[in-house]
Amino acid sequence: MIGRGWKLAALFLMIFLMGFVVWEIRDFGEPSGKPVDRDLDGEQDVGEDGRLVWDDGTGQIDIHDAETNTTIRQDRTMMDDAFLSGAADPNGTVNSNNVVTAIVFDYRGFDTLGEATILFAAVSGVLATIRVAFPGNKGAKGGED
């Protein structure tokens, strides 16, 4: 068995690491470093209001409404800019062609970490339950192993 001191040490280490990680997290919606060059002129594209520009100079995005077959133009937020320019851009940080995977595994990595931890806990719970319900019958008869 592990002593109580080691358990406390592991708990404090985990608390310290989590606190450090949350302290060091980057601001939401902030583009993460490298310049974005979408029209291939060699310099970073910035709109009139200082926001990053993706395809045209207006800082807006086209949303296609399939029901009425019309296109709505809407202001892009800083979050959209960060996701689109960071994920699918060759000069961005994430460099993933699949923006959904980029969001799941990079921008929202904490969600995936929690999901993996939940799966681990579920498997541990199932195995522990079956082991507790039927202890010490590894050599018992009844069916081949």
């Binding site: 990680v21 060091e24 799941v104 990595g109």
Partner: protein
Amino acid sequence: MEEMSPIVKTITKIAFAPIFLFGSYIILHGHLTPGGGFQGGAIIGTLMALYLIAFGAVKWRKKLLSIIESMGLLVFIGTAFLGLTSGYFFFNFIGGTGFPLFGEKLQTGELIDGVFFPSNNAPLLSSGTIAVMNISVGLEVIAGLTLIIVAMGLFAFTGKEGGE
């Protein structure tokens, strides 16, 4: 748990390799196409359930499966922590840097009549830590779901744990 008929066993032997290949494809191409670690791992877990039903209680190496599951989670967390070397937790420190494994850049698009069209032609070894995390989560899900299936199935049929 008894075996099933030779028809089921033969069909399982035939279908094992294609289903395994499909699950591996879903995992390994997770950063290019829909899918990812969890989806491909669930497909291979279903394959393991089929194998268990068809062939009964063969020796399942539960120790090895437990180790694979723990290693998957540890590699995931470790990759997330290695991002701290470049500044942030979960930072993609390989993507686009030219590193030989998963470090290739995406191709730039082209300008047609003043409108930029991004390229949809991405190399397989791109996207940095996302591919590493996909593979580690896939291994973890494969091992975890196989452990649940083996534990519940063998327990339900024989009343005891199966395998090592």
